[in-house]
Symmetry: C2
DNA sequence: TGACTGACAGATTTCAATATCTGTCAGTCA
DNA sequence: TGACTGACAGATATTGAAATCTGTCAGTCA
């Protein structure tokens, strides 16, 4: 039924399954132990708390998204403005898809974000890092206005909150979101101020 | 103790008081009737439901904010880019102040927003209108890039969600928000793309 | 010996009974 | 006559007792 010595990875997988079935509110570590066919005490030998367990699940889940996004930020000959647009577009799409197709794990992620868990701040730090890299490239090549890439990345992430912050997840069901996100991306890339001014 | 014939305005004021004291979850129309010294049946002669009562309170409350903001959007010789910055800065400040200093009424407003009440969408329409007016002026005068002012206003409002949307209210306690909002405003006004490009 | 169990205390959740609230309306009374 | 009351039905919230859960740890057993 399972690997002989119970390991953290196995527990995380069982927890993911339980979270998908019951959602973050109803899932218990007793459920996880039941799936594994062990006592809940065994689970606590590998994770100090229910919170740590949830965090491990979401960390792994976010890592899978991160890999995908890192590819979108990659320098592959595309000009930085287009790369920034591609990165953000994929970032939004990834969030929207997860929220729609994996609602229980997404709900778990929202709980962690609301509680300011290290997992969600690490995720934000990762996103910032991806944006910062593209922005830095753009500044170096003269495509973007000179300035602190860190602060610029922060501003870009803040300006697109509506499209990636889980507090807005409910709004993502509306079909207008995609068009709205494209308008905001254009605004960020060009600003409202006239080029001629 | 109160005006002779019970009128809607008096009821709204009593409700506002009750909402401030008990918050949107605990306030009841029985409480309102008690404050007015009438039976709750009398309240229902003026308002069809508890929801309508709450909406009337928040509508009046938002109207007071709107007056203030309309002044900030006014054409007073200031160039449109600066007017847009002023309007948004005041809009954010108004929200932050209300959230901090009038938490129960603000919480009531959040409830209406979450329920997609007409009151909160009317408020959004008002904000959009103020922004659209400034943007249209800017386009007419050549300060802003030509385009649909309606869509541009929508993009500006979306890009600043983090600073005015009540779902973000919790974050407004952090002292960094002000600096973050200024960076986003600069981003919106100028974009990331280099002027020389 | 060290992975695992299961009993335990205290915290949290569930559940059903009770109380309160919302919205209606026939009736009072000034 | 028309503003107001208060009793009422059904919906919602509160409460307290019982059940379940979290996290610990002394003890089992392979």
């Amino acid at each position: 039924m399972r690997a002989q010595p119970l390991d953290a990875e196995t527990i995380v997988s069982a927890t993911e399954e339980v979270l998908r079935r019951h959602g973050p509110e109803k899932a218990t570590v007793l459920d996880v132990a039941r799936v594994l066919g062990v006592s809940h005490g065994s689970v606590y030998r590998h994770f100090p708390s229910k919170t740590a367990l949830r965090e491990a699940v979401i960390r792994r889940w976010l890592d899978r998204v991160s890999e995908e996004l890192a590819a979108a930020a990659q320098d592959d000959g595309l000009a930085p403005p287009d790369r920034l647009r591609r990165l953000l577009t994929r970032m939004f799409a990834a969030k929207w898809t997860k929220a729609r197709e994996d609602p229980e794990l997404f709900a778990t992620f929202r709980v962690l974000a609301r509680e300011h868990s290290g997992v969600s701040s690490a995720h934000v730090a990762f996103l910032l890092d991806q944006i910062r890299a593209v922005v830095a490239d753009g500044i170096a090549g003269g495509d973007f206005t000179d300035g602190d890439p860190e602060q610029a990345a922060r501003a870009v992430l803040d300006a697109t909150s509506r499209f990636h912050d889980p507090v807005h997840a409910e709004e993502w069901r509306a079909p207008e979101v995609e068009a709205a996100s494209e308008r905001v991306l254009s605004l960020i890339l060009d600003g409202v101020r006239s080029r001629g001014a």
